[in-house]
Protein backbone atom coordinates (compact mmCIF):
# COMPACT_ATOMS: atom_id res chain seq x y z
CA UNK A 1 0.00 0.00 0.00
CA UNK A 2 1.20 3.45 -0.81
CA UNK A 3 2.68 5.33 2.11
CA UNK A 4 2.49 9.08 1.59
CA UNK A 5 5.63 9.76 3.62
CA UNK A 6 7.71 7.26 1.69
CA UNK A 7 6.28 8.59 -1.55
CA UNK A 8 7.03 12.18 -0.58
CA UNK A 9 10.63 11.29 0.14
CA UNK A 10 11.04 9.30 -3.06
CA UNK A 11 9.54 12.03 -5.23
CA UNK A 12 11.91 14.46 -3.62
CA UNK A 13 14.86 12.13 -3.91
CA UNK A 14 14.16 11.74 -7.59
CA UNK A 15 14.14 15.49 -8.08
CA UNK A 16 17.40 15.69 -6.14
CA UNK A 17 19.14 13.07 -8.23
CA UNK A 18 17.86 14.72 -11.40
CA UNK A 19 19.55 17.95 -10.29
CA UNK A 20 22.87 16.14 -10.01
CA UNK A 21 23.27 15.97 -13.76
CA UNK A 22 23.09 19.76 -14.24
CA UNK A 23 25.36 19.90 -11.19
CA UNK A 24 27.79 17.68 -13.04
CA UNK A 25 27.51 19.98 -16.05
CA UNK A 26 28.76 22.85 -13.91
CA UNK A 27 31.42 20.77 -12.22
CA UNK A 28 32.77 19.67 -15.58
CA UNK A 29 32.00 22.94 -17.37
CA UNK A 30 33.99 24.97 -14.89
CA UNK A 31 37.02 22.71 -15.24
CA UNK A 32 37.48 23.14 -18.98
CA UNK A 33 38.72 26.13 -20.92
CA UNK A 34 36.20 28.86 -21.63
CA UNK A 35 36.05 28.04 -25.33
CA UNK A 36 34.65 24.60 -24.51
CA UNK A 37 32.29 25.35 -21.66
CA UNK A 38 29.08 24.91 -23.63
CA UNK A 39 30.02 21.71 -25.36
CA UNK A 40 31.06 20.25 -22.03
CA UNK A 41 27.83 21.28 -20.34
CA UNK A 42 25.77 20.04 -23.27
CA UNK A 43 27.30 16.61 -22.78
CA UNK A 44 25.41 16.37 -19.52
CA UNK A 45 22.26 18.25 -20.47
CA UNK A 46 21.53 16.40 -23.66
CA UNK A 47 21.93 13.09 -21.87
CA UNK A 48 18.99 14.09 -19.69
CA UNK A 49 17.08 14.46 -22.92
CA UNK A 50 18.08 11.24 -24.63
CA UNK A 51 17.94 8.88 -21.68
CA UNK A 52 14.78 10.63 -20.45
CA UNK A 53 13.05 9.18 -23.50
CA UNK A 54 14.95 5.93 -24.01
CA UNK A 55 14.50 4.80 -20.43
CA UNK A 56 10.71 4.92 -20.36
CA UNK A 57 10.46 3.22 -23.73
CA UNK A 58 12.95 0.41 -23.36
CA UNK A 59 15.71 1.02 -20.82
CA UNK A 60 13.61 0.42 -17.76
CA UNK A 61 12.30 -2.91 -18.91
CA UNK A 62 15.78 -4.12 -19.84
CA UNK A 63 17.08 -3.23 -16.40
CA UNK A 64 14.10 -3.88 -14.15
CA UNK A 65 11.73 -5.98 -16.20
CA UNK A 66 11.17 -9.57 -15.04
CA UNK A 67 14.35 -11.54 -15.57
CA UNK A 68 14.83 -12.79 -19.10
CA UNK A 69 17.06 -15.62 -17.89
CA UNK A 70 20.19 -16.10 -15.84
CA UNK A 71 19.87 -12.80 -14.02
CA UNK A 72 21.54 -11.11 -16.97
CA UNK A 73 18.86 -8.78 -18.34
CA UNK A 74 15.18 -7.92 -18.02
CA UNK A 75 12.55 -8.98 -20.52
CA UNK A 76 10.16 -6.69 -22.42
CA UNK A 77 7.20 -6.86 -20.04
CA UNK A 78 7.58 -3.21 -19.11
CA UNK A 79 8.17 -2.02 -22.68
CA UNK A 80 6.77 1.51 -22.99
CA UNK A 81 6.00 1.39 -19.26
CA UNK A 82 3.26 -1.18 -19.76
CA UNK A 83 1.92 -2.13 -16.32
CA UNK A 84 4.12 0.44 -14.63
CA UNK A 85 1.52 2.60 -12.98
CA UNK A 86 0.34 4.41 -9.90
CA UNK A 87 0.23 1.23 -7.80
CA UNK A 88 3.35 -0.17 -6.14
CA UNK A 89 5.51 -2.49 -8.23
CA UNK A 90 7.66 -5.44 -7.19
CA UNK A 91 10.67 -3.40 -6.06
CA UNK A 92 9.12 -1.04 -3.52
CA UNK A 93 5.89 -1.91 -1.77
CA UNK A 94 5.03 1.54 -0.37
CA UNK A 95 5.45 3.84 -3.36
CA UNK A 96 3.91 3.96 -6.84
CA UNK A 97 5.77 1.82 -9.35
CA UNK A 98 6.14 4.96 -11.49
CA UNK A 99 8.14 6.61 -8.72
CA UNK A 100 10.56 3.70 -8.50
CA UNK A 101 10.88 3.81 -12.28
CA UNK A 102 11.65 7.52 -12.44
CA UNK A 103 14.02 7.36 -9.48
CA UNK A 104 15.97 4.73 -11.38
CA UNK A 105 15.81 6.90 -14.50
CA UNK A 106 17.86 9.59 -12.83
CA UNK A 107 20.58 7.03 -12.15
CA UNK A 108 20.47 5.89 -15.74
CA UNK A 109 20.95 9.51 -16.77
CA UNK A 110 23.85 10.51 -14.60
CA UNK A 111 25.93 7.40 -15.23
CA UNK A 112 26.69 8.03 -18.90
CA UNK A 113 26.98 11.75 -18.17
CA UNK A 114 29.82 10.96 -15.76
CA UNK A 115 31.82 9.34 -18.53
CA UNK A 116 31.84 12.53 -20.60
CA UNK A 117 34.53 14.05 -18.40
CA UNK A 118 37.01 11.68 -20.02
CA UNK A 119 36.67 13.22 -23.48
CA UNK A 120 35.76 16.83 -22.79
CA UNK A 121 37.04 19.51 -25.17
CA UNK A 122 37.40 17.29 -28.22
CA UNK A 123 34.29 15.21 -28.92
CA UNK A 124 32.18 15.50 -32.05
CA UNK A 125 28.57 15.97 -31.02
CA UNK A 126 26.74 13.50 -33.28
CA UNK A 127 28.87 10.42 -32.58
CA UNK A 128 28.82 11.36 -28.91
CA UNK A 129 25.03 11.21 -28.87
CA UNK A 130 25.09 7.79 -30.44
CA UNK A 131 27.64 6.58 -27.92
CA UNK A 132 25.48 7.68 -25.01
CA UNK A 133 22.32 6.06 -26.35
CA UNK A 134 23.94 2.74 -27.21
CA UNK A 135 25.98 2.61 -24.03
CA UNK A 136 22.92 3.17 -21.91
CA UNK A 137 21.14 0.16 -23.35
CA UNK A 138 24.10 -2.15 -23.88
CA UNK A 139 26.18 -1.44 -20.79
CA UNK A 140 24.14 0.36 -18.15
CA UNK A 141 20.86 -1.54 -18.35
CA UNK A 142 22.39 -5.04 -18.01
CA UNK A 143 24.67 -4.09 -15.12
CA UNK A 144 21.74 -2.43 -13.32
CA UNK A 145 19.86 -5.68 -13.82
CA UNK A 146 22.68 -7.79 -12.40
CA UNK A 147 22.92 -5.73 -9.23
CA UNK A 148 19.39 -4.52 -8.53
CA UNK A 149 17.04 -6.17 -11.03
CA UNK A 150 14.69 -9.08 -10.64
CA UNK A 151 16.89 -12.15 -9.87
CA UNK A 152 20.01 -10.22 -10.95
CA UNK A 153 22.99 -12.54 -10.69
CA UNK A 154 25.15 -10.27 -8.54
CA UNK A 155 22.20 -9.64 -6.24
CA UNK A 156 21.62 -13.35 -5.85
CA UNK A 157 25.30 -13.94 -5.41
CA UNK A 158 25.31 -11.53 -2.52
CA UNK A 159 27.41 -8.59 -3.68
CA UNK A 160 26.31 -5.50 -1.75
CA UNK A 161 25.79 -2.23 -3.57
CA UNK A 162 23.46 0.08 -1.73
CA UNK A 163 23.19 2.98 -4.13
CA UNK A 164 25.36 2.34 -7.13
CA UNK A 165 29.04 1.98 -6.37
CA UNK A 166 29.34 -0.67 -9.05
CA UNK A 167 26.40 0.14 -11.32
CA UNK A 168 27.13 3.83 -11.49
CA UNK A 169 30.66 4.71 -10.48
CA UNK A 170 32.87 1.75 -11.26
CA UNK A 171 30.93 1.30 -14.46
CA UNK A 172 31.41 4.93 -15.50
CA UNK A 173 35.04 4.87 -14.41
CA UNK A 174 35.86 1.83 -16.52
CA UNK A 175 34.09 3.30 -19.53
CA UNK A 176 35.93 6.56 -18.99
CA UNK A 177 39.28 4.83 -19.09
CA UNK A 178 38.45 3.31 -22.44
CA UNK A 179 37.11 6.61 -23.71
CA UNK A 180 40.19 8.56 -22.64
CA UNK A 181 42.36 6.08 -24.48
CA UNK A 182 40.28 5.94 -27.65
CA UNK A 183 39.50 9.64 -27.90
CA UNK A 184 43.17 10.39 -27.37
CA UNK A 185 44.81 13.40 -25.81
CA UNK A 186 43.68 16.96 -26.35
CA UNK A 187 45.94 18.96 -28.66
CA UNK A 188 48.63 20.59 -26.62
CA UNK A 189 48.02 18.34 -23.62
CA UNK A 190 51.04 18.49 -21.33
CA UNK A 191 52.35 21.52 -23.23
CA UNK A 192 49.74 24.26 -23.09
CA UNK A 193 48.15 25.17 -19.80
CA UNK A 194 44.63 23.83 -19.45
CA UNK A 195 43.53 25.54 -16.32
CA UNK A 196 39.91 25.47 -15.13
CA UNK A 197 38.24 28.58 -16.51
CA UNK A 198 35.62 29.08 -13.81
CA UNK A 199 36.30 27.53 -10.43
CA UNK A 200 33.19 29.03 -8.82
CA UNK A 201 31.23 26.91 -11.30
CA UNK A 202 33.21 23.87 -10.18
CA UNK A 203 32.17 24.64 -6.61
CA UNK A 204 28.57 25.18 -7.69
CA UNK A 205 28.63 21.83 -9.39
CA UNK A 206 30.11 20.14 -6.34
CA UNK A 207 27.45 21.72 -4.14
CA UNK A 208 24.60 20.59 -6.37
CA UNK A 209 26.10 17.11 -6.60
CA UNK A 210 26.38 16.89 -2.83
CA UNK A 211 22.84 18.20 -2.35
CA UNK A 212 21.50 15.77 -4.91
CA UNK A 213 23.50 12.88 -3.51
CA UNK A 214 21.29 12.91 -0.41
CA UNK A 215 18.54 11.77 -2.75
CA UNK A 216 20.88 9.33 -4.48
CA UNK A 217 21.93 7.55 -1.32
CA UNK A 218 19.17 8.15 1.21
CA UNK A 219 16.61 7.72 -1.56
CA UNK A 220 18.03 4.29 -2.22
CA UNK A 221 16.35 3.19 1.00
CA UNK A 222 13.15 3.56 -1.06
CA UNK A 223 11.35 5.17 1.86
CA UNK A 224 11.64 7.70 4.67
CA UNK A 225 12.93 5.32 7.30
CA UNK A 226 15.84 4.51 9.57
CA UNK A 227 18.00 3.18 6.78
CA UNK A 228 17.45 6.39 4.82
CA UNK A 229 18.51 8.33 7.91
CA UNK A 230 21.65 6.26 8.21
CA UNK A 231 22.47 6.65 4.52
CA UNK A 232 21.93 10.39 4.74
CA UNK A 233 24.27 10.82 7.69
CA UNK A 234 27.11 8.66 6.43
CA UNK A 235 26.90 10.34 3.04
CA UNK A 236 27.34 13.72 4.64
CA UNK A 237 30.18 12.61 6.88
CA UNK A 238 32.13 10.75 4.21
CA UNK A 239 31.95 13.73 1.86
CA UNK A 240 33.13 16.10 4.58
CA UNK A 241 35.97 13.83 5.55
CA UNK A 242 37.17 13.22 2.02
CA UNK A 243 37.04 16.94 1.24
CA UNK A 244 39.25 17.75 4.20
CA UNK A 245 41.57 14.86 3.39
CA UNK A 246 42.10 15.93 -0.21
CA UNK A 247 42.65 19.56 0.76
CA UNK A 248 45.21 18.62 3.38
CA UNK A 249 47.02 16.33 0.95
CA UNK A 250 47.16 18.98 -1.76
CA UNK A 251 48.41 21.42 0.85
CA UNK A 252 51.11 19.06 2.06
CA UNK A 253 52.20 17.78 -1.31
CA UNK A 254 51.49 20.62 -3.72
CA UNK A 255 52.15 23.47 -1.36
CA UNK A 256 48.71 25.06 -1.41
CA UNK A 257 45.25 23.92 -0.28
CA UNK A 258 43.32 23.82 -3.53
CA UNK A 259 39.70 24.87 -4.02
CA UNK A 260 39.34 22.51 -6.95
CA UNK A 261 40.77 19.89 -4.64
CA UNK A 262 38.04 20.59 -2.10
CA UNK A 263 35.42 20.01 -4.76
CA UNK A 264 37.12 16.89 -6.10
CA UNK A 265 37.59 15.53 -2.61
CA UNK A 266 33.96 15.97 -1.68
CA UNK A 267 32.89 14.14 -4.82
CA UNK A 268 35.38 11.36 -4.12
CA UNK A 269 33.86 10.90 -0.67
CA UNK A 270 30.35 10.85 -2.05
CA UNK A 271 31.34 8.25 -4.61
CA UNK A 272 33.01 5.99 -2.07
CA UNK A 273 30.16 6.03 0.42
CA UNK A 274 27.57 5.25 -2.25
CA UNK A 275 27.72 1.44 -2.16
CA UNK A 276 28.11 1.46 1.62
CA UNK A 277 25.57 4.08 2.67
CA UNK A 278 22.83 1.72 3.86
CA UNK A 279 25.21 -0.77 5.44
CA UNK A 280 27.78 1.06 7.56
CA UNK A 281 27.83 3.14 10.74
CA UNK A 282 29.02 6.73 11.00
CA UNK A 283 32.49 6.19 12.43
CA UNK A 284 33.47 3.76 9.65
CA UNK A 285 32.13 6.38 7.22
CA UNK A 286 34.93 8.63 8.42
CA UNK A 287 37.40 5.90 7.53
CA UNK A 288 35.80 5.49 4.13
CA UNK A 289 36.04 9.23 3.59
CA UNK A 290 39.71 9.37 4.50
CA UNK A 291 40.37 6.47 2.14
CA UNK A 292 38.41 8.14 -0.64
CA UNK A 293 40.34 11.37 -0.30
CA UNK A 294 43.69 9.64 -0.20
CA UNK A 295 43.19 6.96 -2.86
CA UNK A 296 41.52 9.26 -5.36
CA UNK A 297 44.08 11.99 -4.82
CA UNK A 298 46.79 9.43 -5.42
CA UNK A 299 45.03 8.06 -8.48
CA UNK A 300 44.86 11.52 -10.00
CA UNK A 301 48.54 12.07 -9.40
CA UNK A 302 49.31 8.75 -11.01
CA UNK A 303 47.10 9.65 -13.99
CA UNK A 304 49.09 12.86 -14.43
CA UNK A 305 52.36 10.96 -14.31
CA UNK A 306 51.09 8.48 -16.86
CA UNK A 307 50.07 11.38 -19.11
CA UNK A 308 46.64 9.86 -19.58
CA UNK A 309 44.29 12.60 -20.73
CA UNK A 310 41.26 11.52 -18.71
CA UNK A 311 40.51 15.19 -18.82
CA UNK A 312 38.30 15.63 -15.79
CA UNK A 313 39.50 12.63 -13.80
CA UNK A 314 36.58 10.29 -14.11
CA UNK A 315 38.75 7.23 -13.64
CA UNK A 316 40.58 8.61 -10.64
CA UNK A 317 37.48 9.82 -8.83
CA UNK A 318 34.62 7.56 -9.92
CA UNK A 319 36.51 4.44 -10.87
CA UNK A 320 38.89 4.38 -7.96
CA UNK A 321 36.47 5.94 -5.47
CA UNK A 322 33.74 3.51 -6.46
CA UNK A 323 36.02 0.50 -6.20
CA UNK A 324 37.29 1.59 -2.80
CA UNK A 325 33.74 2.13 -1.57
CA UNK A 326 32.52 -1.20 -2.86
CA UNK A 327 35.41 -2.99 -1.22
CA UNK A 328 35.04 -1.00 2.00
CA UNK A 329 31.43 -2.11 2.17
CA UNK A 330 32.76 -5.62 2.49
CA UNK A 331 34.86 -4.49 5.42
CA UNK A 332 32.59 -2.17 7.36
CA UNK A 333 29.03 -3.43 6.77
CA UNK A 334 27.25 -4.39 9.98
CA UNK A 335 23.95 -6.24 9.96
CA UNK A 336 22.33 -3.89 12.47
CA UNK A 337 22.45 -1.03 10.03
CA UNK A 338 20.99 -2.43 6.85
CA UNK A 339 21.14 -6.21 7.01
CA UNK A 340 24.43 -6.85 5.22
CA UNK A 341 27.48 -7.94 7.17
CA UNK A 342 31.16 -7.48 6.35
CA UNK A 343 34.55 -8.17 7.87
CA UNK A 344 34.06 -6.25 11.10
CA UNK A 345 30.75 -8.00 11.59
CA UNK A 346 32.44 -11.36 11.28
CA UNK A 347 31.71 -11.95 7.60
CA UNK A 348 35.15 -11.77 5.97
CA UNK A 349 33.90 -13.58 2.87
CA UNK A 350 31.83 -10.55 1.96
CA UNK A 351 35.02 -8.87 0.79
CA UNK A 352 35.38 -11.59 -1.82
CA UNK A 353 31.87 -11.12 -3.05
CA UNK A 354 32.50 -7.42 -3.30
CA UNK A 355 35.57 -8.05 -5.42
CA UNK A 356 33.54 -10.21 -7.77
CA UNK A 357 31.03 -7.40 -8.16
CA UNK A 358 33.79 -4.89 -8.84
CA UNK A 359 35.57 -7.13 -11.29
CA UNK A 360 32.50 -8.17 -13.23
CA UNK A 361 31.36 -4.60 -13.64
CA UNK A 362 34.76 -3.34 -14.66
CA UNK A 363 35.37 -6.11 -17.12
CA UNK A 364 32.01 -5.91 -18.83
CA UNK A 365 32.04 -2.14 -19.00
CA UNK A 366 35.57 -2.04 -20.29
CA UNK A 367 35.05 -4.52 -23.08
CA UNK A 368 31.65 -3.31 -24.24
CA UNK A 369 32.64 0.35 -24.17
CA UNK A 370 35.70 -0.48 -26.21
CA UNK A 371 33.63 -2.20 -28.86
CA UNK A 372 31.00 0.54 -29.01
CA UNK A 373 33.54 3.33 -29.30
CA UNK A 374 35.66 1.51 -31.86
CA UNK A 375 32.66 0.97 -34.10
CA UNK A 376 31.47 4.55 -33.79
CA UNK A 377 34.96 5.82 -34.46
CA UNK A 378 35.20 3.73 -37.59
CA UNK A 379 31.81 4.84 -38.86
CA UNK A 380 31.76 8.52 -37.95
CA UNK A 381 34.94 9.53 -36.17
CA UNK A 382 34.93 10.46 -32.50
CA UNK A 383 36.88 13.71 -32.52
CA UNK A 384 36.45 17.15 -33.96
CA UNK A 385 39.06 18.30 -36.44
CA UNK A 386 42.26 19.92 -35.23
CA UNK A 387 41.06 23.30 -36.41
CA UNK A 388 37.79 22.96 -34.56
CA UNK A 389 39.64 21.96 -31.42
CA UNK A 390 41.84 25.04 -31.75
CA UNK A 391 38.91 27.40 -32.25
CA UNK A 392 36.95 25.75 -29.49
CA UNK A 393 34.26 23.11 -29.59
CA UNK A 394 31.55 25.62 -28.62
CA UNK A 395 31.90 27.73 -31.73
CA UNK A 396 32.77 24.81 -33.94
CA UNK A 397 30.08 22.32 -32.92
CA UNK A 398 27.36 24.49 -31.44
CA UNK A 399 27.82 27.86 -33.14
CA UNK A 400 27.74 29.59 -29.78
CA UNK A 401 30.16 30.93 -27.23
CA UNK A 402 29.73 30.72 -23.49
CA UNK A 403 30.31 34.31 -22.53
CA UNK A 404 30.10 37.70 -24.18
CA UNK A 405 31.14 40.31 -21.68
CA UNK A 406 30.29 43.45 -23.54
CA UNK A 407 32.08 46.66 -24.01
CA UNK A 408 31.79 48.50 -20.76
CA UNK A 409 30.99 45.35 -18.87
CA UNK A 410 34.50 44.84 -17.60
CA UNK A 411 37.70 46.62 -16.95
CA UNK A 412 36.53 49.55 -14.87
CA UNK A 413 38.89 51.09 -12.42
CA UNK A 414 37.63 53.64 -9.97
CA UNK A 415 37.77 55.47 -6.69
CA UNK A 416 35.34 55.23 -3.78
CA UNK A 417 33.38 58.16 -2.53
CA UNK A 418 32.01 58.93 0.88
CA UNK A 419 28.91 60.89 -0.06
CA UNK A 420 25.74 59.10 -1.08
CA UNK A 421 24.76 61.47 -3.83
CA UNK A 422 23.00 60.19 -6.90
CA UNK A 423 25.00 60.52 -10.06
CA UNK A 424 22.93 63.16 -11.75
CA UNK A 425 23.64 65.84 -9.21
CA UNK A 426 27.37 65.53 -9.56
CA UNK A 427 28.07 65.84 -13.20
CA UNK A 428 26.91 68.42 -15.67
CA UNK A 429 24.43 66.22 -17.46
CA UNK A 430 25.42 66.19 -21.10
CA UNK A 431 22.56 66.54 -23.51
CA UNK A 432 23.63 63.87 -25.89
CA UNK A 433 24.88 60.36 -25.54
CA UNK A 434 25.84 59.45 -22.02
CA UNK A 435 22.83 60.50 -19.96
CA UNK A 436 23.03 61.02 -16.23
CA UNK A 437 26.68 61.39 -15.52
CA UNK A 438 28.27 59.39 -18.26
Amino acid sequence: MIDSGDTAWMLMSTALVMLMTPGLAFFYGGLVRSKNVLSTMMHSFIVIGIIGVLWVVVGYTLAFGPDAGGGLIGNFDYFGLKDVGQEPGPYAPTIPHLVFMVFQMTFAIITPALITGAFAERAKFGPFLLFMAVWSLVVYAPIAHWVWGDSGWLLEYGALDFAGGTVVHINAGAAALVAALLYGKRRGYGKDPMEPHNIPFVLLGAALLWFGWFGFNAGSALGANGVAANAFVVTFVAASTAMVTWVLLSWQLNGKPSAVGAAAGAVAGLVAITPAAGFVDTMPAIAIGVGAGAFCYGAVQLRIKLKLDDSLDVVGVHGVGGAWGAFATGIFAVATVGGGAGLIDGEASQMGRQLVGIGATMGYSFVMTFIILKVIDKLFGLRVSDDEEEIGVDAAQHGERGYVFEIGGTGFVGIPEAAAEPAASEAPAPAGSGGGGL
Partner: protein
Protein backbone atom coordinates in the same frame (compact mmCIF):
# COMPACT_ATOMS: atom_id res chain seq x y z
CA UNK B 1 52.35 55.08 -43.28
CA UNK B 2 50.47 56.32 -40.25
CA UNK B 3 48.68 54.63 -37.44
CA UNK B 4 45.43 56.39 -36.62
CA UNK B 5 44.69 55.68 -32.98
CA UNK B 6 41.21 56.83 -32.04
CA UNK B 7 39.69 56.70 -28.56
CA UNK B 8 35.90 56.71 -28.93
CA UNK B 9 32.69 56.13 -27.00
CA UNK B 10 31.79 52.42 -27.05
CA UNK B 11 28.29 53.18 -28.29
CA UNK B 12 29.72 54.84 -31.39
CA UNK B 13 31.55 51.75 -32.54
CA UNK B 14 29.08 50.58 -35.13
CA UNK B 15 28.82 54.05 -36.66
CA UNK B 16 32.56 54.39 -36.92
CA UNK B 17 33.03 50.91 -38.31
CA UNK B 18 30.43 51.45 -41.02
CA UNK B 19 31.76 54.88 -41.92
CA UNK B 20 35.25 53.46 -42.34
CA UNK B 21 33.99 50.61 -44.44
CA UNK B 22 32.05 53.02 -46.63
CA UNK B 23 35.26 55.02 -47.03
CA UNK B 24 37.07 51.88 -48.18
CA UNK B 25 38.94 51.17 -44.96
CA UNK B 26 38.18 47.65 -43.90
CA UNK B 27 41.22 46.67 -41.89
CA UNK B 28 41.30 47.76 -38.28
CA UNK B 29 41.77 46.63 -34.70
CA UNK B 30 39.72 47.39 -31.65
CA UNK B 31 40.63 47.10 -28.02
CA UNK B 32 39.03 48.00 -24.73
CA UNK B 33 40.58 50.77 -22.69
CA UNK B 34 39.42 52.76 -19.73
CA UNK B 35 40.03 56.43 -20.06
CA UNK B 36 40.17 59.45 -17.86
CA UNK B 37 39.60 62.95 -19.13
CA UNK B 38 37.46 65.97 -18.42
CA UNK B 39 34.35 63.79 -18.39
CA UNK B 40 32.86 62.73 -15.06
CA UNK B 41 32.40 59.08 -14.14
CA UNK B 42 29.38 57.02 -13.18
CA UNK B 43 28.38 56.67 -9.55
CA UNK B 44 27.91 53.10 -8.42
CA UNK B 45 26.11 52.33 -5.21
CA UNK B 46 26.50 49.44 -2.82
CA UNK B 47 24.39 47.82 -0.12
CA UNK B 48 23.91 50.78 2.10
CA UNK B 49 25.20 54.32 1.94
CA UNK B 50 28.38 53.30 0.09
CA UNK B 51 28.84 54.78 -3.36
CA UNK B 52 31.75 54.76 -5.74
CA UNK B 53 32.41 57.36 -8.35
CA UNK B 54 34.26 55.58 -11.04
CA UNK B 55 36.62 58.26 -12.35
CA UNK B 56 37.43 56.29 -15.45
CA UNK B 57 35.09 55.33 -18.22
CA UNK B 58 35.12 52.50 -20.70
CA UNK B 59 36.26 53.60 -24.13
CA UNK B 60 37.24 51.79 -27.27
CA UNK B 61 40.52 52.27 -29.02
CA UNK B 62 40.41 51.83 -32.78
CA UNK B 63 43.66 51.40 -34.64
CA UNK B 64 43.90 51.73 -38.39
CA UNK B 65 47.15 51.78 -40.25
CA UNK B 66 46.92 53.63 -43.57
CA UNK B 67 49.05 55.10 -46.29
CA UNK B 68 50.32 58.56 -45.52
CA UNK B 69 48.00 59.94 -48.15
CA UNK B 70 44.90 58.49 -46.49
CA UNK B 71 45.62 59.65 -42.98
CA UNK B 72 43.63 62.84 -43.04
CA UNK B 73 40.71 61.18 -44.73
CA UNK B 74 40.53 58.53 -42.01
CA UNK B 75 40.82 61.12 -39.29
CA UNK B 76 37.89 63.01 -40.77
CA UNK B 77 35.77 59.89 -41.16
CA UNK B 78 36.35 58.75 -37.59
CA UNK B 79 35.96 62.13 -35.99
CA UNK B 80 32.77 62.76 -37.95
CA UNK B 81 31.24 59.41 -37.04
CA UNK B 82 32.29 59.44 -33.39
CA UNK B 83 31.17 62.95 -32.51
CA UNK B 84 28.22 63.64 -30.22
CA UNK B 85 29.38 67.11 -29.25
CA UNK B 86 29.58 66.28 -25.56
CA UNK B 87 32.51 66.00 -23.25
CA UNK B 88 33.99 62.55 -23.50
CA UNK B 89 33.86 62.11 -27.26
CA UNK B 90 37.50 61.10 -27.27
CA UNK B 91 40.71 61.82 -29.13
CA UNK B 92 42.48 60.77 -32.28
CA UNK B 93 46.25 60.47 -32.40
CA UNK B 94 48.39 60.14 -35.52
CA UNK B 95 51.52 58.08 -35.07
CA UNK B 96 54.23 57.42 -37.64
CA UNK B 97 54.67 53.86 -38.86
CA UNK B 98 57.98 53.03 -40.50
CA UNK B 99 57.06 49.80 -42.14
CA UNK B 100 54.33 47.19 -42.32
CA UNK B 101 54.39 43.47 -43.08
CA UNK B 102 51.57 41.17 -44.16
CA UNK B 103 52.31 37.99 -42.26
CA UNK B 104 50.56 35.71 -44.74
CA UNK B 105 52.78 36.69 -47.67
CA UNK B 106 55.70 38.54 -46.15
CA UNK B 107 54.95 41.59 -48.34
CA UNK B 108 56.24 44.82 -46.85
CA UNK B 109 55.38 48.47 -47.16
CA UNK B 110 52.18 50.22 -48.15
CA UNK B 111 50.87 47.20 -50.05
CA UNK B 112 50.70 45.32 -46.78
CA UNK B 113 48.17 47.49 -44.96
Amino acid sequence: MKKIEAIIRPEKLNDVKSALEDGGFVGLNISHVTGRGAQKGIVHSGRGGETYTVDMLPKLKIEVVVKDADADKVVDIVSGAARTGNIGDGKIFIIPVEDAVRVRTGERGEVAV
